[in-house]
């Protein structure tokens, strides 16, 4: 219950639980400043001589890291742009030019998301192989965009729904064409909603770990696959794993912290605000 007086008992319990939940990440950060040897042999020793930037240097020295990073950026931003380009007109149609079939179309769109990716892995893999899309940035951009498109359409719809229909109608009576209606009226009014949708799409695409692991190899692999490569036993690698992990999750973690409110709204399609 949200009384105005601060509740110190609640704070103490919350703080302990929050520390427990965040502990794996805090530990990862601490280990990233050790050497691989010390991360495994002396993990609890935090004396002054233990701290080093060696692991970060070694990750940066490995040229491949920047290739993975670039692939992550291309996949996340490319798929977001593509999905928005497809979703904006679709969401406009569903909100402002609805037909009798609207509810059916929307459920169909969502149902494509409910179809498990694994059900289409084999054909997608073979088709990609034929079209030479395997292990390419374009292939990943297309697949990740398709995976997020249903959620993006639904999310945009939930924002467009809240725009007063009267304004759009007034524009129509004034003789605005469809492009004018969208670019001069809808986009400016829905800009914050579109921005949160784009952010959510970037977060989902950055963390996507099914298609990025199965459709990429040496050329197009993003950070998800880079980190997965640490799962093969290669001796001491914990500090480097930690450093690479910190670098890979930091941007999305910061974005996530900054826009919690918008994320909740987006992930619940406007049902929770």
């Amino acid at each position: 219950m949200n009384h105005d007086k601060p509740n110190y008992y609640a704070m103490a319990v919350s703080a302990v639980l929050a520390l427990l939940i965040a502990f794996p990440l805090i530990w990862m950060l601490l280990m990233s400043f050790k050497t691989d040897f010390n991360a495994a042999r002396n993990p609890l020793d935090f004396s002054l001589g233990m701290w080093t930037l060696k692991s970060y240097k070694s990750v940066f020295k490995d040229q491949a890291y920047f290739l993975y990073l670039l692939n992550s950026i291309v996949t996340a931003f490319g798929s977001t742009l593509l999905a928005l380009a497809l979703a904006l007109p679709a969401a406009w149609a569903l909100t402002f030019a609805p037909s009798a079939k609207r509810s059916g179309v929307m459920i169909w769109i969502l149902s494509t998301k409910m179809m498990p990716a694994i059900g289409t892995l084999m054909p997608i893999f073979l088709i990609y192989n034929q079209l030479r899309l395997l292990d390419t940035q374009l292939g990943l951009v297309l697949m990740v965009a398709a995976g997020n498109l249903p959620i993006i359409i639904w999310m945009l719809f939930s924002y467009f729904k809240d725009i007063p229909f009267g304004i759009i109608e007034a524009a129509r009576i004034d003789g605005a064409s469809v492009p004018q209606e969208i670019f001069s009226f809808l986009l400016p009014m829905a800009a914050p909603g579109i921005a949160s949708t784009a952010l959510l799409s970037i977060i989902l695409a950055w963390n996507e770990s099914f298609w990025t692991l199965n459709l990429s190899g040496a050329n197009a692999a993003p950070l998800t696959a880079f980190i997965a490569s640490f799962s093969s036993p290669q001796g001491l690698f914990w500090a480097r794993l930690s450093a690479a992990s910190c670098l890979s999750v930091a941007p999305i973690l910061i974005v996530g912290w900054l826009c919690q409110k918008q994320l909740v709204r987006g992930l619940t399609f406007g049902a929770v605000k």
Partner: protein
């Protein structure tokens, strides 16, 4: 009359424009879902193995018959259900308790919330590998060191109870999600209604039952739906920690199909199992469909 026919033709034009604006997205989605699904259906009826030379041959329902005779397949369906049900139960109940706690006014509120929701934003392969190595490694993971410190012998948790470890990792990823959604929903609760109820002598259990839980039904439905979508398809966490093992102890349906598809290149069997996964997901979502429609106000 003129006005009426005019608005009719405007409406017809609008419907036409709507159709064309919707088409690119629908076609794109169809290419990446319906078209491959049709291929999956055809493949599932073929004897088709990439590692064995020869033309794919029609074999009727043999792939399905062989699947149902394969105890690993049956087991993998059970493992999938186990992960989905346990994780949803833990994260929804835990998320509700945690959200109720965080809903109190307290110092350092923002910092505490930031820490609680962080795991949700972490790349799945990162979270899984940090748990497996830095925390749970039986030789020098942090838990092993604590165990040794208190004179206990550390357990190789991934060998003794691999499935429990997968579930722990997945709960760690999804508890923040449930907490965040339910907390946001709690904050929009009408406090005056609760205070009025208290003045009328309502006990806190009554408040919980008649005001708080009904208010949370919608967000809980959505949390369950979103988790279902993702938990049915858990993959990366298993790939980087146990690779489905030891034996097939942590092989869920997704991992089973992956191993048939990209490790054995058995297109026929993988497609048959893939098709069953699609059917399973459709059954689940058909059950949920009514609730979803109501929850998002369609």
């Amino acid at each position: 009359m003129t006005l009426n026919s005019d608005s009719n033709s405007t409406e017809a034009m609008l419907a036409k424009q709507g159709f064309w604006m919707l088409t690119p997205a629908v076609v794109f989605l169809a290419i990446f879902s319906i078209v491959p699904l049709l291929f999956t259906i055809v493949f599932s009826l073929l004897r088709y193995r990439l590692l064995i030379p020869g033309v794919p041959k029609f074999c009727g329902l043999q792939n399905f018959i062989r699947l149902f005779a394969d105890s690993q397949f049956i087991e993998s369906v059970g493992h999938t259900a186990e992960i989905v049900l346990i994780v949803i139960a833990i994260t929804v109940v835990g998320g509700f308790l945690l959200a109720s706690l965080l809903n109190h006014e307290m110092p350092a509120k923002r910092l505490i919330r930031m820490m609680v929701i962080s795991p949700f934003f972490i790349i799945p392969t990162v979270g899984a590998l940090i748990w497996k190595n830095l925390l749970l490694d039986p030789a020098s993971g942090v838990f092993a060191i604590l165990f040794k410190h208190f004179g206990q012998t550390p357990i190789d948790t991934f060998a003794v109870m691999p499935m429990a470890m997968i579930i722990v990792i997945v709960c760690w990823q999804w508890l923040p999600f449930a907490t965040l959604i339910l907390l946001t929903s709690l904050q929009s609760l009408d406090m005056e209604q609760m205070e009025a109820a208290s003045l009328d002598g309502a006990k806190s259990m009554d408040n919980l039952r008649y005001i708080i839980l009904p208010h949370l039904m919608r967000p809980i439905t959505i949390v369950v739906l979103m988790e279902l979508l993702y938990l049915l398809a858990i993959f990366a966490e298993i790939l980087v920690t146990t690779a489905g093992g030891p034996g097939s102890a942590t092989t869920n349906l997704t991992y089973y199909i992956y191993s048939k598809a990209l490790l054995e290149f058995n297109v026929g069997t993988a497609s048959a199992a893939g098709l069953l996964a699609v059917v399973l997901a459709n059954v689940v979502s058909a059950v949920m469909a009514k609730n979803i429609k109501r929850s998002v106000g369609l």
